[in-house]
Symmetry: D2
Amino acid sequence: MIVVIKKNQEQKQVDNLINWIKDLGLNVHLSEGENTTIVGLVGDTSKVDIDLIRTLDIVESVTRVQEPYKNANRKFHPADTIVDVAGHRFGGDNFQIIAGPCSVENEKQIIEVAEAVKKAGATLLRGGAFKPRTSPYSFQGMGVDGLKLLKKAKAETGMPIVTEIMSEEYIDDFDGVDVMQVGARNMQNFDLLKRLGKLKTPILLKRGIAATVEEWLMSAEYIMSEGNPNVILCERGIRTYETYTRNTLDLSAIPVLKERTHLPIIVDPSHALGISRFVKPMCLGSVGAGADGLIIEVHNDPAHALCDGAQSLRPEQFEDVVNCVKGMLPVVGKRMDR
Amino acid sequence: MIVVIKKNQEQKQVDNLINWIKDLGLNVHLSEGENTTIVGLVGDTSKVDIDLIRTLDIVESVTRVQEPYKNANRKFHPADTIVDVAGHRFGGDNFQIIAGPCSVENEKQIIEVAEAVKKAGATLLRGGAFKPRTSPYSFQGMGVDGLKLLKKAKAETGMPIVTEIMSEEYIDDFDGVDVMQVGARNMQNFDLLKRLGKLKTPILLKRGIAATVEEWLMSAEYIMSEGNPNVILCERGIRTYETYTRNTLDLSAIPVLKERTHLPIIVDPSHALGISRFVKPMCLGSVGAGADGLIIEVHNDPAHALCDGAQSLRPEQFEDVVNCVKGMLPVVGKRMDR
Amino acid sequence: MIVVIKKNQEQKQVDNLINWIKDLGLNVHLSEGENTTIVGLVGDTSKVDIDLIRTLDIVESVTRVQEPYKNANRKFHPADTIVDVAGHRFGGDNFQIIAGPCSVENEKQIIEVAEAVKKAGATLLRGGAFKPRTSPYSFQGMGVDGLKLLKKAKAETGMPIVTEIMSEEYIDDFDGVDVMQVGARNMQNFDLLKRLGKLKTPILLKRGIAATVEEWLMSAEYIMSEGNPNVILCERGIRTYETYTRNTLDLSAIPVLKERTHLPIIVDPSHALGISRFVKPMCLGSVGAGADGLIIEVHNDPAHALCDGAQSLRPEQFEDVVNCVKGMLPVVGKRMDR
Amino acid sequence: MIVVIKKNQEQKQVDNLINWIKDLGLNVHLSEGENTTIVGLVGDTSKVDIDLIRTLDIVESVTRVQEPYKNANRKFHPADTIVDVAGHRFGGDNFQIIAGPCSVENEKQIIEVAEAVKKAGATLLRGGAFKPRTSPYSFQGMGVDGLKLLKKAKAETGMPIVTEIMSEEYIDDFDGVDVMQVGARNMQNFDLLKRLGKLKTPILLKRGIAATVEEWLMSAEYIMSEGNPNVILCERGIRTYETYTRNTLDLSAIPVLKERTHLPIIVDPSHALGISRFVKPMCLGSVGAGADGLIIEVHNDPAHALCDGAQSLRPEQFEDVVNCVKGMLPVVGKRMDR
């Protein structure tokens, strides 16, 4: 970390800062120029509060040389992490497609969709049991009953299941769930993250709606620093001024993350865009940008014509997406595991 | 709610939509023009999923006429809500100033600051016991011990106390806390909000870092719909592209909220700006914009020179702010309760 | 356009609004419900000032049913526009790659780069003569002399040339330029747009750094309504809160634009990301998302090692990008014209 | 400027960078640590292209110690600049209120409004003759005829006039205009800025809709570096994700600018908010935050009831605002010049 001191500051103030840094167990490398004094902090600076230093009156600027995350940092773990979910591998040259309905509604629905997406090429099944909804008056999901139906679908189809956890309170009910998802709204629910860090179950960590890449990796760090190395990152769109899509899918984040972290990263175009006819191009865009997988909403109710056009694809549309994705994978050096 | 149907859609699809709306218990008012069909939804539309309708292929656009919040809505509750905290009133023509340190550190510190801010004109004491920190390696607060020290400071000075709750797990330990704060990162931690809705303790609900005014009011609605009407909103800056301050303080939100809701709204300039020398102008700006109060960080450690310039004011700086605020209150028709 | 009137408004005010609308030559379709009055505007509403209506006290909300652009609107022009640049076609199932240096520096440089990118597969040559720079102290480009060198490179290689125009003042000097580029900072320089609309030369219209898709299409409309139909849109990243790349490349804009307009759209990943090692994945992402072409910075100065790693690729890196793009094009049903 | 070099880079690459820096006429101060090499650039770094250096492969990070603006920089000009407009002073402890209609429509209108705002306390008259409109189909202003009517109003009332210039082409017609306004969309129309820099007329430079404070000051620098020191900055709202107001008024920018520059700064709440009933609170908020003045839209057509509620105030509403502003000025140590 490099701290630039403003011109003409009291030496006592500068000394106070230096002593405070030394008290944190760091070495200080001082370089005094004509117009500025530069203070280099040498050692493990991940515990230094950069915001505090930045706000000091005597400080002109602070530059972090070392990233504040360690377990998630590619510098300390150059090889790609492979997260194994019941034999399906995330990361490296593997590509996974998770698919299923927005919400679990009943046994027939979840099993039919599971069979349809499996047939079309999905490798894991998703489905919401606990639903984070902006309005208290909206359907909040089937809860524990939904989890039971997901497990039935897993037993029927052999597909591993992915579903969201919203509170530590229900953690025991998630026994048997293969991937526990943390939603965008809970990305900085630190008590929840710490609790999930004590498990070994893979965690699908969605990016917060206005989270920086660094904050996102710090949330991964909360999980990893408690002992759980199995984190899969999921880009799901960020909030911008533009309103023609629900959120702006940030595909640039993929190459950036590939450089900074060894964790696998997948993309959720269904939630980011909010409109099913835009899902296919953004799936292909994600493949091009280097993603390790996709999570896609698929529904399976031909009678339920109302849903045509919502963010969910029909199975035949989903199959078309899978086929196009497979056509692109060789160019980016990846392959699906079946 | 008004739904505009695209030109030349299949009548069957339109009928499906209309029947689905009727099944929700709403009346439908149809208006067919040459180029468009307009479907008006009459009744309680707060439970209608606007996002679902928006994504239908046959739909051109959807306009909500009725806001999706009810308890928080000024239309249904025209008079200002007054939240009474141990005799200190938030809302109406009252103005409150909450002050105290960022974190509770020890008994001496919290009691000294409490006495200093009381003397300078603060009406409530703030102090963090549970601290939400981006990094797992940063100080996470004193926790339950911090709560005990805050209660001691309350006993010594008679000031009501305001402090943040991060998880339902600790709710019993907050007995004796006068205002429970929900931080920006937990604004959409819906399980926490529902739990707080079952209390009667006033809740200080901070705006999420990228929350719209509507989402913020919907989070207030989560608390209120469970039975707790005592919600105080707190603007604390939003995330924008601009980086010269930590966040962009959105003072326009104050007159907008005053029109839409009857709940009191206060401003936290310390966290929004992140730099103490900008706190005073933004306090005065908040008064001008119509805020019902302020929450300000103050520290009291003349020896701890390191913190000069951080987001906390020294007591004498805080006193100057209080005096200037008092000078402005008559222009906006408000008064402090002592 | 649909205007929703607030409850309990004076009839005189409502009548004033209706009469004002009729004075604009529009028909009014009135629908009075119990709680709201809905005013439908029928006719050519592209000239109605929606912002003005939105701000009226009696108005609850306004919804535009018809887009405010006509020439650029796919509704009125369903087939893809093909912009022909000296035999190279933009739009439809064609894919073009424009490449060249950031700035024209001297004759040797521009001709060497031109030959290199042509050999690697580029179909048009780019190069900056007039450079919009944030700082008045930065190099502002070679100006008219740079244009002359570009034309020499065109004569030598037969490649059509693309370069930026910043002011109407120099328009005559652009004679012989095949595509005139309007930069992000000038996207709403309406006097310049009107002037370019009087030409027939194809215009490459970059998206403003915080422009909505609608504003961008309205700027295309400025050019087209003056008589020039040859507009190529160029996505180049938008400004968001995220700072790890210079801007956030908005690839979702591609499928959205494909639905709304018939104009071709290309992507500039070099400027959006600002870092050359991220250019390749974003080129492939752009292809997946459905772009009609790319504009890529390439430099050709092996001795000028300083520039390694800047936003420009070296020719051999560029060739690798071209080959990967070609591998992907069949999946999206496009092809390069050589 | 401080450049941090990545670990384990080739010495040749580092030497290339250092030689390139020296060629720019700067001294280099090298500090090699165990893990990083720090290169300090000493001298006038305002001409160094920070973006170029940042993108080099060998560079970890770059920190600018010196701001890239000089003429606008308070460090080199500690005292407040006072811009004198026909005896009305902007900056220091002066406070000015500019008022008038959005557009000049006819002689009767502009003179009536001018008289009304003068009576109510405005010190300068505004009115649009050239109007930047998103749509080519919207009214583009009266142009040169509008300028003539403004000058008549000036002659009648003695008020100095403020109006927008959109293109260098009309510069001669602005003779007699007291303050030339550069709109948000033209903040980075560098050819226009350079041209205005050759005048002595005060320039009201509005902030671009997504401009950083630094970019805004760099645009001021374009004007000042050409010889015109009379720049007044005008905050008019920035683009954020929030949609309940047209833009988000960034009042935090005021204290930040007061620290960085000596130029006066005023606020335009009418355009930022877009709704007249929010103008008053934001005027008072601006005063509290430390603004040097306001620019407010006022119309004067009691028969033209349509405009009630638009972003323009009626004269009696404007008078109320002026009186409240006057009530607040003593608290912030400012005064109006009449």
